[in-house]
Amino acid sequence: MDEYAIGLIVALIAVVITFVAAFREKNDIHRLIIADLGEISALVLIALIATDLAEALIIPGLVVGISELLALSEVYLVREHLNRPVKHPFRIEVLDTAPTIIAAILVLYGIVLSGFTGGAVAGTGMIFYFMGKKNAERFALVETVSGYAWALWIVAFFIFMVVPEYWFFAVMLAGGAILAKVTAKMSLIGTMRGEKDV
């Protein structure tokens, strides 16, 4: 028996366990989490192919799964009237002092890395900073930066296709733009504290 068949059998056993759990569970929030586990096993089935194409198929599969999870969580919150803001936000002393220096280190290191990875590292720093600070950010500005960065990223792709001689410029443009975009998008997560519309 080859490795694919063994992996497939293991994955299908996991799927069966997930389905049994989903039908036995009665608590709605637990069923939601079990359904998310099921999505992960669907990704496992794709990942078993273990080619570049499988890698390209995992990302849309993951996006579909996450969007369904977000939509259902929102439905659950509205249904259970859980949309009141949190009364006592999480406060400990280290969150008042540490964020600035850690965020600065992470953002600098992210800029050195550049590209998607750099964006993720810098974004983690920004999340930490915004979580530690009070909620006085300018959402519109962050969104605008993210939007322009995305447009620059697309421009870089057009340069690749139309004038391939300037590939180095396009690589730098795409790397910088995706850094700014991922950082901005991730930093928005840090500003979510359960107020209205977030």
Binding site: L8, L32, A35, L45, G61, V78
Partner: protein, 222 residues
Amino acid sequence: MFELASSNIGGQELFVLPFGDIVDYFTPYTGALFLFALIFTLICIFSKPEKSMDIVFGTDAIYAKGVTGKDLHFRRFMAIACGIATMGAVTSGDVFNFTLFVSMVGICIIGITASVKNRQVLHTAFNYGIITMLATIPLFGGAAITLAATGTLSIWELSAIAPAMPWIAKALILVGVMGEGMAPFYVAKAELTRAPGAPYVLMIHVSSLLMFLRVVEIILTV
């Protein structure tokens, strides 16, 4: 005895739109499905939502429930997105793209259903959503097993070497589409059919029907 004129299920291809190796195509069959989806999307864009009337029990009074403002925009947007996803599903020439479009239709149906702020309707939307999430396992699993067994996902390539797709993959995709297309049953259970805004609810039925018709064509072709 009976002899079919053509073994080709969908008929001759009328129009082909290649994006690299992802080839969208129209046959008379899928073209008809596409036109059907397009017409209903246009109905959702241009028609005004229906107003439902409630009679106050024991009196002559009647009050009308309408859909207005933000709620209207959201439901109309979701219905249009559902129509576009359906059009993508019926024209797609790639098994994985088909499964992705089917999951998109599922998400849009959750959106249409969940826009009614009624506890029972939200309960139904939640339960349907759980089924949708679980149905993506057989959908993507079927596509992944096809890719592993044949090395391709293109319906053109698969139909050239038919019967190539393992029967288990066909069965999984069919089960997945059944899960995603189960919405009309849930809609019938919900208060949704009595809630205002008829053309948007219609889109749920249309997209579910078209997905079933298309998956039958795919399973018979490959």
